[in-house]
């Protein structure tokens, strides 16, 4: 592989702005992204891109580069087990054992919106009358616009979404696309959020979905983000990470629990802390 001068400069820029770590062996993953940045910013060459990064630039350009260098791969009910754990274990823990008026959930890297919609469909099937506040955030402004629209083409709509859910919760719109119904979209608060640099709400969330995000961070930043997520969890709240992700190397005190074929991580509630 060529060792292009643009690699370390772009990698450092992305790291400084997002915490996403492209090590030398990941540089090949920047190739198509470099081409796209050059195309979308109308630059003449990789050297021009280097100059652009070095010379400082406005927020819009920064946002464009961050958009292109983040991974937006997602689909409905991805990995399935976390949604079963939510429905069969976590929600009953809050709703049946400790009735409360509102459950706060955060999909903290929601990409094009399939995850928060999957969360809501899961809850509606079992607890149709439960009050839910669902925050869905992402670092990428562009992908967040797609999430807000709730519109998916036929291939996206079929990736992981059972046909009964498609018929029940989506309406067909032009160009053979499908749009999530207002009963779903109106329940979600979408917003830009940089896990690396934004201030987190404190002890707000009963459940945080942070899946396949921290794998792109180095250990130091992973720990920083995990600590902030910990602070954002309500006592007794659950952190749900991606399949195969773990807290290894982290010092945060979350109890690992096996539920519905997946691992979830629970913060002690206050009663437990006193008892301990």
């Amino acid at each position: 592989m060529d060792n292009k001068p643009v690699y370390p400069i772009l990698a450092k820029f992305v790291f400084d702005n997002t915490g996403i770590f492209y090590g030398e062996r990941d540089y090949y993953r920047l190739d198509s992204r470099i081409d796209k940045i050059i195309r979308e910013l109308n630059l003449s060459s990789e050297d021009a891109l280097i100059e652009h990064i070095r010379s400082g630039h406005d927020q819009e350009v920064k946002a464009k580069i961050v958009d292109i260098c983040t991974n937006n791969e997602t689909f409905f009910f991805r990995d399935q087990n976390p949604f079963n754990a939510l429905k069969d274990n976590i929600l009953p823990d809050f709703i049946d054992q400790k009735p409360m008026s509102e459950i706060n959930i955060w999909s903290c890297a929601c990409s094009s919106g399939q995850e928060p919609l999957s969360i809501l469909m899961t809850i509606f099937e079992k607890y149709p009358n439960q009050t839910i506040k669902l925050d869905a955030t992402d670092i990428s402004k562009t992908i967040l616009e797609k999430a807000k629209s709730g519109i998916y083409n036929s291939l996206e709509a079929q990736r992981g979404l059972p046909i009964q859910n498609l018929i029940k919760y989506f309406q067909q719109v032009e160009n053979n696309c499908w749009k999530a119904k207002p009963e779903l979209l109106n329940k979600i608060s979408y917003g830009e959020f940089n896990l690396f640099s934004n201030n987190y709400p404190r002890e707000k969330y009963h459940v945080i979905f942070c899946r396949n995000v921290l794998i792109y961070q180095n250990m130091e930043n992973k720990n920083k983000i995990l600590n902030k997520l910990y602070d954002s969890l309500a006592p007794g709240g659950y952190l749900i990470m991606g399949a195969g992700e773990s807290l290894i190397g982290s010092s945060i005190e979350l109890e690992q629990k096996s539920m519905a074929g997946t691992m979830v991580f629970q913060k002690k509630d206050r009663a437990n802390k006193v008892a301990a």
Binding site: Q80, S154, Q164, L166, Q171
Partner: protein, 122 residues
């Protein structure tokens, strides 16, 4: 897992058959609903039927109606068709189809749909 593809297009049947084999399953082919009825009547060995809608002799909807009236098979049926209007999808579900794939689709979509059906059956 034995999967019966019911589709009058040999080209589509071939592509889907390749997908199925790549996923580690066995693929069989019937050219229309009537052929499928004959094959199943002879030996009801299938674990999943992938059923096209528009076919000569007996179309997919007629196959569903025939199956509902004659209890031909309890094997799960997944529509695999270009018909994509919600009212048509609902009609097929009412007549006993358990899943629905709108053409065109990818191998990954087929795999995810098969996994969902397998989990539901487990």
């Amino acid at each position: 897992m034995k999967i019966l593809i019911v589709d009058d297009s040999n080209a589509i049947a071939m592509v889907v058959s390749e997908y199925i084999k790549e996923l580690g399953f066995e693929a069989y082919h019937a050219s229309n609903g009537k052929d499928a009825v004959d094959m199943i009547s002879q030996e009801d060995i299938f674990d999943l039927i992938l059923l096209d809608w528009n076919m000569p002799v007996m179309d997919g909807l007629s196959f569903l109606e025939f199956n509902q009236q004659n209890h031909l098979t309890k094997c799960p049926i997944m529509m695999m068709t270009t018909e994509n209007k919600p009212e048509k999808i609902m009609k097929a579900l009412e007549l006993g189809a358990l899943e629905y794939i709108m053409k065109p689709f990818s191998k990954e979509i087929l795999e995810l749909k098969i996994q969902t059906l397998k989990k539901a059956a487990a």
